[in-house]
Symmetry: C2
Subunit: 348 residues, 2 copies
């Protein structure tokens, strides 16, 4: 990711069990790898817990979320497990209407994991935090024996502030609401898979992995009737639409021709027998908005670097509640089924 | 742990990759294993983030912490990875002066992990949450291929509220402050090790693993001059005292004869060449308190079920700053060195 990543001076080039001991080696790892990059004042206090000021605005609420990241490979076109771990948690806060603020990061490291790779991941996390306007304020590191993990797993949790009066929920869709996706779907999943399967594209396909905070904050400022937001990660666009239909007790209709999919993603999906509707994104947004605000929201999205490929893909309807239907390119209607197995393991 | 653990009806008796897909199997796991036990309203909303009310008291702060748990074996005398994952995070909030409130729980599961074991762990987490007065409000589950993890790893994060004016820090010790430990040290580490090494004790040694919230809350109510608290987990009592000495720039002197250690723990430590000072506890508290409040704090601790074995073990001093010294049973003084390797891997 970064040619200038400083590799810490240490007599260890790899993680050893002692790095998880809570003793001198743990201290070294903290001082040499984590603290130089996660440089906030709160983390530097090294208490067992970070102390944060609650929101001062009356009526504001806190948002709190967590995700573990086990992506394989750890480094992929457009990102790495560290960037993903920051984006995933930041985006889960954003889609609740929150302004993301503080993150925790917990690492499970496999004995023998190269310290240079860990440093590269930490540098990437720090850069992504700056991009998202958040700070890592507390963390943990554990080490397990060789063969008992797969390099590194990262769990991030996050806290954000939801301004007073902002109320989004996937249970809040009304029939007629427009559904807008912020850009082409499936880039992340196919970028990962292309590395695993050794697929070459003419142009490099990169993960869409990005923190959505600047996009969602810009959209909220417009004061539009946004009902719900979700980032289509595992389960893909289909999973988000299913959840919205079921939780809001509405039908959802989408138009296949309007769902943005890159040619490379479509081609790779066909080759691998996958449906882009189920492939994970890590920097896209699905928004349900009142019909009279749909065009304004679309225009605002397209004006933002993270929403340039936005499109209205369908609507909530009163018919077939709790079911997602898609009009195909050739005009037929079909039910979009719930994903029943594992389509792509370890995509995030 | 619990003979009546309901094993969910499912055609799967073991975790499969599809349980991490974000599709139907993920949903089944959530509905059959997690939601019945983690039964709070916030979690049941199944949004991407929990929404919480900030503290209403002016001047209150938030505490935020995280820990990953990789203990081996998963079930041990006196606890299991689930109980440990709740206690560890709850206790990290408590020692900051916080009243623990909301927890997140993220699971990394290995393909093939028995659903019955997962259910047993979840039931134990739920019981420990009730004991600690906290609620699991958000979570995540990932699945990795067989051989890429070790059964289950759990990462919990927690949020608590620190009442206005309460200010603890391991950097706040003054010379003269008394150091009090709430009970015998090393039970947790030796209980784990006894299972691993097949050591039999005449009476069963059980882990001290416990949520400390009721004890710390009772102590804070006394209004004593408590400077700092820590739970001596990895690195043990020694690690906590080292941190306090270094961060407060004081010397620390302890008296070996006053440090409570059970006979079984001492015997097993001798057998294994370990020093109880470095062995992890998961339900003990080390407190630094102003000298004139030491006896009152000790009495209050002893009156609480979690502090019956409490003892004043030493003091902060102006001499030898940043160094911990111990007066041995036979009268000599020695420096307690910083743990330099891994004494007991995967103890938490």
């Amino acid at each position: 990711m970064n040619a200038t990543c400083p590799v810490p001076e240490s007599r260890y080039a790899q993680i050893v069990l002692g790095h998880g001991s809570g003793g001198r080696l743990s201290q070294n790892l903290l001082e040499q790898v984590f603290l130089p990059h996660f440089s906030g004042k709160t983390l530097a206090l090294l208490e067992d817990q970070a102390q944060l000021l609650p929101p001062s605005e009356p009526g504001a609420r806190l948002a709190f979320t967590t995700d573990s990241f086990v992506v394989s490979p750890l480094f992929f076109p457009g990102g790495d497990i560290g960037r993903l771990a920051v984006c995933g948690t930041v985006n889960d806060l954003c889609v609740g209407g929150a302004i993301p603020q503080s993150l925790s990061a917990a690492f499970v490291l496999e004995e023998g994991f190269p310290l240079a790779d860990l440093t590269r991941i930490v540098v990437s996390m720090a850069a992504t935090c700056r991009e998202a306007g958040v700070e890592i304020v507390t963390g943990d590191t554990k080490v397990v024996e060789r063969g008992k993990a797969d390099g590194v797993f990262i769990t991030t949790s996050g806290i954000g502030v939801i301004p007073s009066g902002r109320q989004l929920s996937i249970a809040a869709l009304h029939p007629g609401d427009a559904l807008i996706v912020s850009g082409p779907i499936g880039d992340h999943g196919i970028a990962i898979l292309s590395v695993r399967e050794g697929i070459d594209f003419e142009t490099e396909l990169v993960s869409d992995c990005a923190p959505l905070a600047s996009l969602t904050c810009a959209l909220f400022e417009l004061g539009l009737k946004i009902r719900a937001m979700r980032d289509p990660t595992r389960g893909g666009l289909s999973g988000v639409l299913q959840d919205m239909a079921v939780r809001s007790n509405v039908g959802i209709e989408i138009d296949e021709a309007r769902v943005p999919v890159r040619d490379e993603v479509r081609a790779a999906s066909d080759l691998l027998g996958l449906d882009p509707l189920y492939i994970a994104c890590e920097g896209r947004l699905v928004t349900a908005v009142a019909p009279d605000d749909a065009e304004r929201l679309l225009a605002a999205m397209r004006a933002h670097p993270l929403g340039q490929g936005a499109a209205i893909i369908g609507h909530a309807v009163t018919e077939h509640p709790r079911t997602v239907q898609m009009r195909s390119r050739i005009g037929g209607e079909r039910v979009v089924p719930v994903l029943s197995g594992e389509q792509l393991p370890r995509i995030c």
